[in-house]
């Protein structure tokens, strides 16, 4: 039986407006791309179940408004994140330049316990477009300097590399969660409450 531990992974997607955060999230969760998505106001999230090493976990992917002026709202949403996904647009150099500030801002607001080891993943989106302004090499260099952050080149439009990227994100988030000490699983042993263990008994009969 799978463990009862918390298997919810909270993932935050950050990056400049219009780099494709909403599109990536929807491509991953709903396998759809639409150019009718509206600019995100406030925040929204989607959830998706993934299986990692035989463990089913639920990813809760948060998408927030990309304009920096709205960042002050972040604190309500960033808390408790297990992984942060940074996104830039490979055809727009400015979106690459702001990655540093997105990362810093996240670390300040989410205040993770070990900022140095907090998992980030970088996505260079819109690789279906030409011409590129930021090469893969340059992005990788940046990642190397940032604790070897994993880097993926994606296209939300074509669905390119999106699945792989989010799988890596889930893995990193899970690793992060397993590392942090689980404070919430103790209960004083003075008293036995209702029986919480499950019986497997009837499970077999429905195998069809």
């Amino acid at each position: 039986m799978a463990s009862n531990k918390k298997v919810l992974l909270k993932v935050i997607i950050l990056g400049d407006s219009s780099v494709g955060k909403t599109s990536l999230m929807n491509q991953y969760v709903n396998r759809k791309f639409s150019n009718q998505y509206k600019a995100t106001i406030g925040a929204d999230f989607l959830t998706k179940e993934v299986t990692i090493d035989d463990r089913t976990v639920t990813m809760q992917i948060w998408d927030t408004a990309g304009q920096e002026r709205f960042q002050s709202l972040g604190v309500a949403f960033y808390r408790g994140a297990d992984c942060c996904v940074l996104v830039f647009d490979v055809t727009a150099p400015n979106t690459f330049k702001s990655l540093d500030s997105w990362r810093d801002e996240f670390l300040i607001q989410a205040a993770p316990r070990e900022p140095d080891n907090f998992p980030f993943v970088l996505l260079g989106n819109k690789v279906d477009l030409e011409p590129r302004a930021i090469s893969a090499k340059r992005a990788q260099q940046w990642c190397q300097a940032k604790n070897n952050m994993p880097y993926f080149e994606t296209s939300a439009k074509e669905g390119l590399n999106v699945e792989q990227a989010f799988l890596a994100i889930a893995k990193n988030a899970l690793a992060q969660q397993n590392q942090s000490v689980d404070l919430y699983n103790e209960f004083p042993d003075q008293i036995k409450l209702t029986n919480t263990q499950k019986s497997n008994g009837g499970g077999d009969s429905c195998a069809c």
């Binding site: 150019n35 509206k38 106001i41 999230f45 089913t56 408004a65 008293i191 009837g202 009969s205």
Partner: protein
């Protein structure tokens, strides 16, 4: 998912494929069982209201219905199998038990009786029948209860073994195979634990908003009324409900009991600091004669510490005999520590220790007696730790005693409390709140105080009501705290204390009540207008006829009526273009038609002027973008060693997707050369001179450019002087290519060519339109740039309206303007943002599907150009859009948008209106719907109301469909003159109240509510919500009026 199981028709006799049909029924059960079992594997509990449970129950119901001998059993009146259960109850103890439970629940409210016996009832909507105060009963009630009670398999087993009595011969249940399969299938689900408590582990399995609403409609014949129907100052209710105390509302006691016990566990919302069983408490009830053992626990929640004590009878599981335990709930104890001032401890080495908690009101809580073994000390120690950092015990439990060696400080408890020392000791601790400002007497501003005032009120009234029972006992303990005093002093002290208690109780009760009322008046009175204006006859809104009445000879004088009609009924769509400018303050009431015409004209001129200013700047920005991009590309290609970027692919302009007709030139060049020279030159400049004279021939000659390297020049006058130029250009385009071909193949030159072959497209103002119609029309003319211009003289043609020829000469555009780098940078940044958002603005709405985006962009850019200090912020496009759709006129839209923004700008990140809205929401909900507030508070405390952010930022524009946005907006605008200038708050409140039952019954937390409302966007019943909002305003007005 649920509607699949329509119950009608299953007992109609079946033809040849009966076998198949039974097979199908069984397969359905299998599938649902599997689903439920899977759900249980991944998380700790299956939620009782999980969709899969409902589906499973439905599938079972179908099996049980099939071939049921209704007629013979006298069950033909009902379509469900509930009656069968009651029949079987006589012979089967499990069924009897469930049958009783069903009856209990049904009888607990007369309104409910019908709903479980006819499961198929699905009364229309949640908005109707507001007057029936009952929460919905779930479908398939008895099957559910039997499942949760783990009796379902047994009952079905009984049915199968006695099938001949109740079923036709060919019924599924009577079938030797299917019958036993059915009962064995259910063994598994009957072994699971079901829960109503929401924990972090569960929330993502919640059904989507859709399903919630559907479920709600199906399951409830009637909905719980939103607070409208409830008296606001309902102290009767308050007395019974304490903040996070689920004990007292007793319907559905089974669920609640279980929830309650689960709440004693460590969970995500409350940390368990201490837990001990067999702690004795003497409940303050007449029918209890001696102390009872129970489980004592200390919980820490964000709002503070809570001590709970639960009788053992309630702790030992819920699956046992059906003995009625309900009385024990009365004994259970729950004390919030912030109500407690003193902790009296009585230590007895023989018998353990006793603690008595004394509240602010002087009332003592029932004594808590710990068994021997240092448990009291452990408890106090946990308590002390839990109080930090906000509060502390005085004197401290653990004293820092300096030993002989002053450097080694040793922590040790006060001597009185260690059991090893001699016999009997008493001690009194005071709980000190370090945040002194919390003093309730000084507290004036409700908004700044986290603890809710109504909660306090309730708490104090609560204690008032119970104090008479507990006070007599408590004095005996007071005695012990002054053991050395002579008896007279001692009795005197008791009397004093008694007097004080009585006075203070009365005082606190009275004070609380007054404070509550004055809070309502002083704080909330600002939210609504004092004068109540009724809506008599106005519910139709402004119709064409009404408008003809109001607007006599083109003059509207009775503005009060315009506002009143709009507020109560909205405006007919065809009149909006005329009336909105009044509502927004653009047209003045009392103005004549001529005056308004003149104003329109003036507005248009001003708009065009402003536009020509920024269009000029835009052209420069575009040019720079191209250079930047080319630069980046050059850098990239020099960087990349592989040749995977074919030169041909480099030709697309990405910067602007609004204007899709990007023309690329086949002419190509290598782009792997950096351009350090150019870069240096460019960065040297601080300003770019904008020259418009002498440019006409620039396009053709490209050799004299070197001398103007520091200038960016544009031949816009050329373009503007006559449309002739435009046609000349077309020829040029053809010849240009030749020219380019003729250029010497200097690699650097080639790069330049490449750069300039990228073509800028501009939204342009057609001159002829201006001249003929006097009206700005925009086209997405792709105007090609001069192909053979040299790098540093960026000569660009754009179809800017000719200021020189029109009446309004803008100095900037006619004489050439000088723009600082900073201005260019700022505007450029804004421009890009605007374009990105225009691209994504309501593309699914016909108006913006293909056309009109440029109009939106122009209005937006004009606003931002005029308000560069504010700049573009996300959401502004959303606010322009409905205006533009209504007016379909840029300049009028612009003028009205400016008026609209006077109020709306405060909602954006730099203003403070959003925080005010949130604070006001807090107060309103606390006072108008305390129950909802408590739920929000209890489920992770989302009383920050961030989930309303988009609602307020955009005046609900994203929440509603366009026609409803129109109505809602005009009502908001009119509301300030009729009822409330904070009408948006009441809209928000109405939205919450509309889904009140769903929010409460699903115990939604922050993420749930965000998800729910995001999914419900554009699906609300706006008419109902608006009506409710107006009612809520009136409710508050009446409350304030009835002093």
């Amino acid at each position: 998912m649920i509607s699949v199981f329509s119950l009608g028709g299953f007992n109609i006799s079946m033809s040849g494929d009966e076998k198949d049909y039974k097979e199908k029924l069984i397969v359905a059960v299998k599938k649902e069982v599997k689903q439920v079992m899977e759900e249980s594997v991944t998380r700790k509990f299956v939620h009782e209201e999980s969709g899969s449970v409902t589906s499973l129950c439905g599938a079972v119901e179908n099996c049980l219905s099939q071939g049921l001998r209704r007629r013979a059993l006298g069950l033909f009146k009902t379509s469900s199998t509930t009656a069968l259960l009651h029949k079987v109850a006589k012979h089967c103890s499990e069924a009897n038990r469930i049958s009783k439970k069903v009856q209990e629940i049904e009888n607990s409210d007369p309104n409910r009786r019908s709903s479980s016996s006819s499961d198929s009832v699905s009364k229309p909507t949640l908005k109707k029948n507001l007057s029936f105060p009952s929460s919905p009963l779930p479908r398939f009630l008895w099957i559910r209860l039997a499942l949760f009670d783990k009796q379902l398999a047994k009952i079905i087993d009984y049915l199968v073994s006695n099938a001949s009595k109740y079923y036709d011969k060919d019924a599924l249940v009577a079938d030797p195979d299917y019958g036993s399969i059915l009962s064995s299938l259910l063994v598994g689900p009957c072994a699971l634990d079901y829960s109503r408590t929401k924990s972090v582990e569960q929330f993502w399995t919640d059904p989507p908003a859709d399903e919630l609403v559907k479920m709600h409609r199906i399951s409830s014949g009637h909905s719980t009324p939103p607070s409208v129907r409830r008296p606001i100052l309902n102290f009767g209710r308050s007395l019974n409900t304490s903040s996070d105390d689920p004990l007292l509302s007793r319907n559905n006691s089974q669920h609640i009991a279980k929830d309650y016990v689960e709440s004693l566990h460590q969970n995500s919302r409350a940390a368990l600091l201490f837990g001990k069983n067999n702690v004795l408490v003497m409940p303050a009830k007449d029918d209890v004669t001696e102390p009872m053992p129970g489980y004592l626990s200390l919980h820490q929640t964000p709002s503070g510490l809570t001590i709970k004590w639960t009788p053992n009878q309630l702790m030992n599981g819920f699956t046992e005999e059906s003995q009625d335990k309900s009385i024990y709930w009365d004994y259970a104890l729950q004390v919030r520590l912030d109500e407690i001032v003193y902790v009296h401890c009585h230590q007895d080495s023989e018998a353990g220790g006793t603690i008595i908690l004394v509240g602010q009101d002087g009332v003592q809580r029932p004594p808590i007696h710990f068994p021997k073994g240092g448990h009291m000390l452990a408890f106090l120690s946990c308590l002390e730790t839990g109080l930090l950092p906000r509060g502390r015990l005085d004197p401290p439990l653990w004293s820092q005693r300096a030993g002989a060696n002053s450097t080694t400080k040793r922590r040790r408890p006060l001597p009185a409390l260690s059991e090893t020392e001699e016999a009997t000791k008493d001690y009194v601790f005071r709980i000190i709140d370090n945040s002194d400002h919390k003093d309730i007497f000084k507290r004036k501003d409700l908004m700044n105080v986290k603890a809710s005032l109504p909660t306090k009120v309730r708490v104090q009234l609560c204690s008032t009501s119970t104090s008479s029972e507990s006070s007599s006992k408590s004095f005996s303990i007071d005695q012990q705290s002054v053991p050395d005093s002579p008896p007279s002093v001692y009795i005197q002290a008791v009397c004093d204390s008694m007097k004080k208690q009585i006075i203070s109780r009365a005082f606190y009760g009275w004070l609380a009540y007054c404070r509550h009322l004055s809070t309502v008046r002083t704080h909330l009175s600002g939210l609504v207008n004092g004068k109540i204006i009724n809506g008599d006859g106005a519910s139709e809104g402004i119709t064409v006829e009404k408008w003809a009445e109001l607007c006599t000879d083109g003059v509207v004088t009775d503005y009060a009526e315009v506002y009143r009609y709009t507020y109560f009924g909205g405006i007919a769509n065809e009149l909006r273009t005329q009336i909105w400018p009044y509502l927004l303050g653009h047209y003045k009431f009392g103005s004549t038609e001529e005056q308004r015409k003149a104003l329109d004209e003036e507005t248009k001129q001003a708009y065009e002027n402003t536009m020509s200013e920024w269009l000029a700047v835009e052209a420069i920005v575009r040019q720079r973008d191209k250079e930047d991009q080319a630069h980046a590309i050059a850098k990239l290609s020099s960087e990349s060693t592989s040749g995977d970027h074919a030169p041909n692919e480099l030709h697309r302009d990405l910067s602007n997707e609004v204007f899709e007709d990007v023309i690329t030139d086949d002419e190509d060049s290598e782009s792997d050369h950096d351009t350090p020279n150019r870069k240096n030159k460019k960065t040297r400049e601080n300003t770019i001179r904008y020259e418009s004279e002498e440019e006409v021939d620039k396009g053709e000659t490209n050799k004299d450019c070197d001398q103007q390297q520091n200038n960016v020049q544009r031949n816009d006058t050329g373009a503007l002087n006559s449309s002739k130029i435009l046609s000349v250009e077309e020829e040029e385009e053809a010849t240009c290519n030749n020219n380019c071909d003729n250029l010497e193949p200097d690699p650097r030159e080639e790069l330049h060519d490449f750069i300039h072959n990228v073509i800028v497209t501009n939204a342009s103002v057609d001159i002829s339109n201006i001249e003929t119609e006097g009206h700005v029309r925009n086209h997405l003319d792709a105007v090609t740039e001069e192909n053979n211009s040299s790098l540093d003289t960026c000569i660009e043609t754009h179809g800017l309206a000719s200021p020189a020829r029109s009446a309004c000469v803008s100095p900037a555009s006619s004489n050439g303007g000088i723009y600082t780098q900073e201005l260019l940078k700022t505007f450029g940044l804004n421009l890009h943002r605007i374009e990105k958002d225009v691209q994504r603005c309501d593309r699914n709405y016909w108006y913006f599907a293909n056309e009109n985006l440029d109009k939106l962009r122009n209005v937006m850019c004009t606003y931002v150009w005029e308000h560069l200090d504010i700049g573009y912020m996300q959401g502004m496009c959303d606010l322009v859009a409905p205006l533009l759709v209504t007016f379909d006129d840029e300049s009028l839209t612009y003028a009205c948008f400016c008026h609209l923004m006077e109020r709306m700008i405060e909602n954006f990140p730099n203003g403070n209106a959003m925080d005010c809205h949130f604070a006001n929401m807090r107060s309103l909900i606390q006072i108008l719907d305390a129950e909802m507030y408590e739920q929000m508070h209890a489920h992770g405390d989302y009383t920050h109301f961030y989930f309303c952010y988009r609602w307020f930022l955009l005046d609900f524009k994203r929440e509603l469909v366009y026609p409803d946005v129109f109505t809602t907006w005009e009502i908001i605008w009119a509301a300030q003159h009729v009822a409330s200038s904070h009408f948006v708050l009441f809209l928000a409140l109405a939205l919450l109240e509309t889904y009140r039952d769903i929010i409460l019954s699903n115990g939604m937390d922050f993420t749930d509510i965000i998800k729910f409302f995001n999914e419900m966007a554009e699906r609300h019943d706006a008419v109902a919500v608006l009506k409710l909002s107006r009612e809520l305003v009136l409710q508050l007005q009446l409350l304030i009026e009835n002093k």
